[in-house]
Structure formats: C-alpha cells, structure tokens
C-alpha cells in the first residue's frame, strides 16, 4: 500500500519547486537551447555576422571520418574510465571497510584527489609520464619498456585513462564506503557463521546489496567520462598522437574555445547531448532492472 501526501494548495507545490526550476532553466535549458540555435548557424568569432545554415554543421560533422573515429575513441575511453574507476574504488572501499585502526586517516587520504582540478590532474600525470623526464617513464625505461605517449596511441590512451580514473576514484570510494556501512553487520556475521569466506560473503551479500550505489556510480562515471574530462586531455595529450585521444568532448572544447568555430562546436555538443540522454535512458531501462533496492 503506497502512502501519499497530497498538497491541498494549488500554488504551494509550484512555489516549492520554483527555485529548482529556475536553476535548471538558467543553467541547463537556456544553454542547451542556445547550443541548439548555434548549431544551426555559422558565425564569425566575434559574432558580428551570423548566417543560418540549417543542418550544414551536422552534415559537415558526419562527413568527417575523424569525427566518426572519435566515437570509437570515446567509447573505449568511457568504458575504461567507468569500469576501472568503479572496480578500483570498490576494491579500496572494501579494504577500508575491513580495517580496524586508522580508518579515518586512510579514508581521508583516499578522498584527497577529488579536490584536485582536472587540468592539474592531467599535468600531474603528464609530468610523471613525460618520456624524457617523468619518473614513471624513467622506471619503465629501466625495466626495458619504451614509454612514449607522444607517438604511441595506446600509451597516450593509458595516460588519460589513468589520470581520469585517479581523479574520480575518491568520489566513487566515498559512495561505496557509505554503501558498505549501510549493510547490516548481522547479515555478514550470519554468513560468516555459516562458513562463508570473505570472498564469498562479498559476492553473495555485499555486492548485490551495493547494486543501487554501483548503478548510480555507473551513470555518474559515464557522464563524467563524457563531459568532464576535456581538461585532462587538453593538459596531457591535446588529443594526440594524431587524433587518437581526441574524445568527443575534447573536440567540442577545442573547436569552440580554441578554434572559435561556434557553429561546429555547438553541433557537436548537441550530438553529445543526445548520446548521453540515450545512454542514460538505456541504463535506466535495462541496467536498473538488475538493481535490488
């Protein structure tokens, strides 16, 4: 039996919703509408001449093989970032959940990277992996591995994935720790009494009970990989070598802010918007069915 509270007043619910609606309109609907408009225009940098070009910007995009290739790059990048990010932070959270001493210190340290700006994260990892001066690449050379992300696409992809995952791990970790703490201890103890070892207890009890958190993080991490990683790419590889790390959002940023092609950039962000909407719908329709609340 569902319990519902119903407002008797006609205006109160709207008044309560108003702040949220205003914020969404100003920060989401308005810019999104602007992007839609601009994607149909061709304008010079300073906006002194604007011409309506219909769907030309989109046509130009899909005629460009390198744009199509960047879908593949983005897919690989997002799967790696979301997958590794969630797996690693889940592992860290499970460990953190089991330790007895120094829990606060351990947790605090793991939360720190979240306070680092993406561009800084990109530069940080760039220094570590710089082919001639980076400490990590130096170590890799020492064991006979020739690291060169300037010319090797796989290395470059690894670099941005590492930076992006590292940046997001803290966020995921926080949610997983909270999720693990909300699982009743009695369930785990009962399983332990029944003879289930930690590995078994994790897969049969903790992991299924964490599924709402994991699902939430999956959605968040995919959005993160799609939208918030351009600064990392810009600071570390600039999309290179070639265009092998030019993920979709980086190209939006580059064309709009550096090359000042607002029409082309807006068209790309519209495409990106549709992709993320579609992905989120898919996640909610299909993946969410596997979630136990």
């Amino acid at each position: 039996m569902e319990k519902r509270v119903v407002f008797r007043s006609a205006w109160l619910p709207w008044a309560l919703l108003a702040p949220q609606i205003v914020i969404i309109t100003v920060f989401f609907f308005w810019p999104a509408a602007q992007a839609l408009l601009q994607s149909l225009q061709q304008a010079d940098a300073f906006g002194t001449s604007v011409e309506w070009v219909g769907l030309d910007n989109f046509r130009a995009l899909f005629d460009d093989p390198s744009y199509l290739a960047s879908f593949k790059t983005t897919a690989i990048f997002s799967v790696l970032v979301a997958g590794l990010g969630i797996a690693l932070s889940l592992m860290l959270a499970v460990f953190a959940d089991r330790i007895v001493k120094g829990t606060t210190l351990y947790r605090t340290l793991l939360i720190w990277p979240y306070a680092v700006a993406p561009a800084v994260a990109g530069v940080l990892w760039l220094f570590l992996f710089a082919p001639s001066i980076g400490i990590v690449s130096y170590g890799l050379q020492a064991i006979g591995f020739a690291w060169n992300h300037l010319l090797d696409s796989d290395h470059a992809m690894a670099l941005i994935v590492v930076a992006a995952v590292w940046k997001q791990i803290s966020y995921n970790f926080l949610f997983f720790v909270a999720g693990l703490q909300s699982i009743p201890k009695s369930l785990i103890e009962a399983a332990a009494i029944d003879g289930a070892r930690p590995w078994r207890r994790f897969w049969t009890i903790q992991f299924p009970l964490l599924s709402p958190t994991t699902f939430f993080l999956l959605v968040i991490n995919v959005v993160y990989a799609f939208f918030e990683t351009f600064a990392i790419v810009d600071a570390s590889t600039q999309g290179g070598p070639g265009r092998d790390t030019a993920i979709l959002v980086y190209k939006v940023y580059y064309d709009g802010f550096k090359a000042m092609d607002l029409g082309g950039s807006a068209a790309q962000s519209v495409v990106l918007m549709f992709i993320v909407v579609a992905l989120t719908v898919i996640q909610f329709r299909f993946v969410e069915k596997k979630v136990n609340y």
């Binding site: 061709q42 304008a43 010079d44 940098a45 300073f46 906006g47 002194t48 001449s49 011409e51 130009a60 460009d64 390198s66 001639s132 001066i133 300037l150 010319l151 090797d152 696409s153 600039q238 999309g239 290179g240 070598p241 070639g242 265009r243 580059y254 064309d255 802010f257 550096k258 090359a259 000042m260 092609d261």
Partner: protein, 440 residues
C-alpha cells in the same frame, strides 16, 4: 648607515608619491598579452617605461594566458563590452581578426585620428605586408615578430667531432650531423618545435614554393593548401626516415620541444627566433644559431622565412581620448631606440628598418653572433610565394598538421598519405571560412 640609507630611500619614495599628480586623472589603457617568463618581464618593462615617460596615460599590461587562450577571452569580453584597448593576437589569428569587421580599428586610422605621424614604410616589408589589408592599410601594429631559425648545442657538436662554429646549412648536412651526434651517444640529435610552422610553412617560403594558392592566402579567401608537392613530400619523407633511425626525436606540439634543447637533451632544434632569450638565460652549454637548413638543389632556395609571433590590435568601442593614449603608446614602442632595445633583449625581429640599422651600428650583432640570423633571413626581397601566409581557420589547420605529422613520426601513415590528408582536411576548413566571410 643602513638605517640612514633606508630613511633616505623612504623619504625619496614619499616625495615621489607626493609629486605624483594625483589630481590629474590618468587615462588607463588596458593591454592584454600572452607573454610569459623573460618575455613577460619585457612587456611589463615596456609599459613601466612608457608610464614613466609621460603623465597623461597609464598602460596596464595583463597576462591573459597563451595566445590560444587570450583570443577567445577577448572575444567573450568583446561580446560583453569589456574588451581591452590593446590585444596581442598571434599571427595565426590574423585572418580571423581581419575578417571580423568592426572589431578592430586599423592602426593607421588610430594614429591619424590622434594626429600623430604614421609612416608604414619604416616597417620591414616582410613584417608590415603580413599585417596589411589588401587595400594597403596597416591593420595591426607588428609587435613581437619572430621567424624560424636553427639552434644547435656547440658542446655536443664538439663532443661528436663536428665543427662547433658552423651549424649545418642544408638538410643533408643536418642528417650527417645527426648521425655523428647519435654515434657519439646523443639520444636526441634533432627535434623541432612548431612542426607545422617550421617544417611546412617556413619551409615553403624558404624554398620559394607555394604553401597555399592565392599568394598563400594574402590575395583572397579562396586560397587552398598546396603542400602535397614533390618537394614537401621529399622533406617529410626525409624527416620520417630520420625519425626511424633515431636521428629526429619527436618531442611534442607547439613550443613544448624547446625545453628538451635547453636541458641539453636534444642537440639541434628548429624553432622561433624568440626562443633566443630563453636559451641565453637558461642553457648551461655553448649554443649556436644558424639559418634554417634547405635543400641545395632547389632553385631559388634559400629565399626568406615567414614571420610568426604576434601583433597588437586596437579594439573598437572606446573613448577618443583613450585611443589617443593608445596611439601615443604605439609611437613610443615603435621608436627606433625602444625597438632596437626590445630586439636585442628578446631575439624577436626588429620591426622597423631603423631599429635594425641602430642595432647593427651599435655592434650588437658582432658581439652576439647568431642574433642577426633571424633578421638576415627576413630582410630580403620577398616574392609572392614567400611574403607570408594568412589563412582562415588557421589554428585548426595547424592542429591538423600536428595530428597528421604525428602519425608519420609514429609510423602509422606514409608522408604522402599525411600530406594529402592535411590538404584535404585543411581545404575543407578554408572553404568553410570562405563561406562564412564571403561578400565582405
């Protein structure tokens, strides 16, 4: 003694403060620039010296990020009505600035309105022509113009048994020098910064071949890239072979590779003449500067190299009195003395002939061998193929060049495939630019 000195200094400071005409309102001139490190200090010094030289105007220089960042910043500011008076724009942005009608006021106009004499003919032709509209009017003030030169590590040359007093003049000589450097244990014999600018743009002008049609874009918006020629192909193939043999080591885009020369890791580099100030200050070894290498069997080579660097644009929509200040400032920084000083300090080109002659007369070039290389590469009679390159959507074309060339160095594409791709992708952008700006 110490205290007394301090007291005197304090008193002098107070006096200076009191003498400052506080009642006389100074007109502030905002100047956005992209100069970092030693060049940033130079810009600040220019403004400070100008401010000290007169009382009516105060130029306020503000660092607004790299060239690529400051221009979009100015675009946003212009749209919001808070643009600066003076904006430093890199050469790559020139076509965009020129095409945006009503954004900038031609320098000639600013000077004329202020009643100050302005003679375009005092500027070095290869520099002035780049910033001149097809109708002959100078649009922006050449400020820090540079060109591409060749730097080499004399100590490394000595160690490899090469003549440290003579840099390689041709590409075959570069290859053999690189081979000797490698044999002597050098891990990075040669690298290049600004690969599109040095290896394609300047390379074209230096060999007197077209980089793009329509006089490299100076004569019209319908210019198209022409860098899939046999000579370009030969050069990129040559570099690709050097890369395979470990003679050329790719160190990244833009000016990033410069650090590997200063640190001593790479022994030879082709990059901007504006890099000299950095080398002079930071290199812990003897260095040499020489002209860009060329292929000796190409008729007409070496011609001249093209300019890079930036110019100062006057943004519209300000008060007449403020423009008078801008004009006064421009007159100050264009004077032969200030120009010559700037040139000697930074390694950027002298933008007026008088500044060049003044520097020459002072004996600076004799005392600082190599500092005249950039100048002698530029002060030649230019041809239609070597006057300069001005294309729309140029920043993106440079990026395309980076992307495609990286695939050649990485062995993923042949030189031919990459050059054809640059032309094809670049021309699409040029068509787009032509369409967006036609009929003006």
């Amino acid at each position: 003694m110490q205290t007394k000195n301090t007291a005197v200094a304090l008193a002098a400071g107070l006096l200076a403060l009191a003498a400052h005409p506080a009642a006389h309102a100074q007109i502030e001139i905002q100047w956005w620039h992209s100069m970092t490190a030693v060049n940033g200090e130079w810009v600040n010094d220019l403004a400070r010296d100008f401010n000290a030289s007169q009382k009516d105007y105060k130029v306020v220089p503000t660092f607004k990020g790299s060239y690529e960042e400051s221009m979009p910043g100015a675009v946003a500011a212009f749209r919001a009505g808070t643009a600066p008076h003076i904006l430093q724009v890199y050469e790559v942005g020139t076509a965009t600035m020129m095409a945006s009608k009503g954004v900038a006021i031609p320098v000639g106009q600013v000077m004329k309105d202020a009643g100050l004499p302005f003679d375009q003919s005092v500027y070095i032709p290869a520099v002035a022509s780049y910033y001149t509209a097809p109708n002959g009017q100078m649009i922006s003030l050449p400020f820090n113009s540079s060109t591409t030169v060749f730097y080499y590590n004399k100590d490394a040359f000595k160690a490899a048994g090469l003549d440290p007093n003579k840099g390689p003049t041709t590409w075959p000589e570069v290859v053999s020098a690189a081979a000797k450097l490698k044999a002597s244990g050098h891990k990075c014999p040669f690298t290049t910064a600004w690969q599109g600018w040095t290896q394609l743009e300047s390379f074209s002008a230096w060999h007197n071949v077209e980089y793009a049609s329509k006089r490299n874009g100076l004569a019209g918006l319908d210019a198209r890239l022409m860098i899939d020629s046999p000579l370009h192909l030969r050069h990129i193939e040559n570099l690709a072979n050097m890369s395979k043999q470990g003679l050329f080591v790719y160190k990244g885009r833009g000016n990033v590779p410069e650090a590997s020369f200063v640190s001593g890791e790479c022994a030879m580099v082709t990059t901007s003449s504006g890099f000299l100030g950095n080398v002079r200050k930071n290199a812990k070894f003897a260095y040499g500067v020489s002209a860009l290498p060329y292929y000796p069997d190409v008729p007409g080579a070496p011609q001249n190299t093209v300019i890079g660097g930036a110019s100062l644009w006057v943004i519209s929509g300000k008060k007449p009195a403020e423009y008078k200040g801008v004009a006064t400032f421009f007159k100050y920084i264009s004077s032969p003395e200030v120009q010559a000083k700037s040139h000697q300090r930074t390694g950027y080109l002298p933008v007026t002939t008088a500044a060049y002659e003044l520097t020459d007369k002072s004996g600076f070039y004799k005392e600082n061998p190599g500092s005249d290389v950039a100048v002698t590469q530029m002060v030649r009679k230019v041809t239609d193929k070597s006057r300069g390159i001005r294309l729309g959507n140029y920043p993106q074309i440079r990026t395309i060049e980076d992307e495609e060339l990286e695939q050649v160095w990485g062995g993923k594409k042949t030189a031919k495939e990459a050059l054809v791709a640059i032309v094809k992708r670049g021309n699409e952008l040029l068509e787009k630019f032509e369409r967006a700006n036609k009929g003006r």
